[in-house]
């Protein structure tokens, strides 16, 4: 299990770095990945797209992405895209760990 705590803004620019991080994690065998949004102040579709693009791959390895501690503005982006029904979203890290 891997817990990531991205900080700041995840937009089309910073999504490249996140893509590299997730790509390396998946390549190294991590499939159960928790994203704590406690320090994530903004996310755009490009940021969300990173997780979308690896979702099938981690699920095929019996894993998933779980988001927790999301700020309301970040959660709103996931809801706007209907991804709150695709990703697992929990309040706390403890709940996130339990869900995996």
């Amino acid at each position: 299990m891997l817990i990531l705590i991205p900080s700041g803004e995840l937009d089309a620019h910073s999504a490249i770095k996140m893509d590299r991080v997730i790509g390396e994690a998946v390549q190294n065998g991590y499939a159960k990945i928790i994203i704590s949004g406690s320090r994530l102040t903004y996310i755009s579709s490009a940021g969300v797209g990173v997780f979308v693009s690896y979702l099938d791959e981690v699920r095929e390895s019996n894993g998933n992405f779980v988001f927790c501690h999301l700020k309301s503005s970040v959660l709103d982006v996931l809801k706007t895209l209907g991804l709150d029904k695709v990703f697992i979203i929990t309040e706390t890290i403890k709940e996130a760990k339990t869900s995996l």
Binding site: S44, G49, V52
Partner: protein
């Protein structure tokens, strides 16, 4: 009220676009959630212009104009990128298909169409123009300033 920002076509400048839009909306009285969603829509539209319109060519430029008129926020984005852009082909894609196809892109337009009331793409004098508008509730700046005044202690 109107403001314009010109940026080179690089994703690193999207932060500036968000700051510019946030500053423009500062005196507009509407729920902060609505403001955040407008900032997001402008960010998405500019990202599309930079990435798909100009392939991140820094020698090219994107112009963003924000206007507050008749209780509507108008957003006008000019670029000279690709032609024959068909937004319908993108924003109507099912989100589950995007997940299945492992697509990183295609969601920006979905957000724009969800947030804004009107969106039009057209050509004008050789440039692509993306025009978006959203109705909001506004209050004069003087009243806004009173609302935002922080009470201070006399102790």
């Amino acid at each position: 009220m109107e403001a314009t920002l010109k940026i080179p076509c690089t994703k690193a400048r999207l932060k500036e676009v968000r700051r510019f839009t946030t500053a423009f909306l500062k005196n507009v009285v509407c729920p902060s959630k609505e403001k955040a969603r407008i900032v997001l829509a402008v960010d998405e539209a500019c990202a599309n212009a930079i990435i798909h319109g100009h392939q991140c060519n820094e020698s090219k430029q994107v112009d963003i104009t924000l206007r507050l008129q008749n209780n509507r926020v108008h957003v006008i984005i000019y670029d000279i990128g690709i032609t024959n852009f068909n937004p319908d082909a993108h924003y109507k894609k099912d989100i589950r298909k995007l997940v299945k196809d492992q697509q990183k892109g295609g969601m920006g337009l979905k957000i724009m169409y969800s947030v804004m009331d009107d969106i039009k793409y057209r050509k004008k004098q050789g440039k692509n123009v993306c025009e978006m508008a959203k109705k909001i509730n506004v209050m004069p700046a003087e009243q806004t300033a009173t609302h935002e005044r922080i009470p201070c202690s006399t102790n």
